[in-house]
């Protein structure tokens, strides 16, 4: 097995990999986790877990995180961006959006609506949007209107939609920003 690896990998590449992952796994990991979005807890989680990995295993563990970061972090980032753009275009003309969990709803009440956008996009990716309702990435001006409405408690809400919550936000007159 070792002989096979030596035949496949050129020495300079192997030496560089050994240098990066073998002697500076912490630094390599910090670069790798940049693939995740800034608010993704996986960034902090992986950096903290490294301290519990035995030194001898660290190069391999860090290499595994590279694979994870590419497929979970980088591709997830691109997919969310695509979905946001798609739903932003289709937003106007509709009157509602969906918040699928209580925690997200509470964060929305606190004015952190960008988190709603992210979470909503994730649900769309998980094919939960099969009921014809709208998931929307909200423009800043509308975010403010939504936030004000949350604070005034004048939004009708029901739990009829699965485990989630459907929030009736706009009248046709407010969607002109």
């Amino acid at each position: 097995m070792t002989a096979l690896i030596f035949h496949i990998i050129a020495w300079p590449t192997f030496a560089m990999a050994l240098l990066v992952f073998g002697f500076a796994p912490g630094a390599a990991l910090r670069l790798i986790v940049l693939a995740y979005k800034r608010d993704n807890p996986r960034r902090r989680e992986l950096a903290a877990e490294l301290h519990n990995v035995p030194r001898i295993e660290r190069p391999f563990w860090v290499a595994e995180q590279l694979e994870l970061a590419i497929f979970e972090g980088l591709l997830g980032r691109l997919a969310v961006r695509r979905m946001k753009r798609k739903w932003e275009i289709s937003f106007f003309g509709r009157r509602s959006f969906i918040v699928n969990e209580e925690g997200v709803f509470n964060r929305a009440r606190n004015g952190c609506l960008h988190e709603v956008d992210h979470a909503v996009a994730r649900y769309v990716l998980q094919d939960l949007a099969d009921d014809g309702c709208l998931f929307a990435a909200l423009p800043a001006s509308i975010r403010k209107a939504v936030h004000d409405s949350f604070m005034n408690d004048d939004i009708g809400k029901s739990k009829s939609l699965r485990i989630g919550m459907r929030v009736q936000v706009f009248s046709s007159t407010t969607v002109d920003a």
């Binding site: 807890p41 989680e45 903290a48 877990e49 301290h51 519990n52 990995v53 563990w61 994870l68 979970e72």
Partner: protein, 94 residues
Amino acid sequence: MSDASDRHWGYELSKRSGVRSGVMYPILQRLLDEGWVADGWEEQVKVGKAKRPPRRYYEVTDEGKIALGALVAEARHDARFGQLIAPQIVNAST
């Protein structure tokens, strides 16, 4: 997560189960999305002497205990998995 009442860490779970961390973390994310586990961060006080950043832990929720217990019980009756599951796992998760 044979001890359902305890806190668990991604790396620890990966080692104990023999599942690669590249597979374990996405599984944990799915469990979080389902509401079967909850996550949190270690308190700074406990971390202080070890001089390392606080780790993210996972705990099985009540909903998770029911759902995972049912899954394990079901798996025990399945000829393919029955012998792989120790009896104490079922007891701990129910």
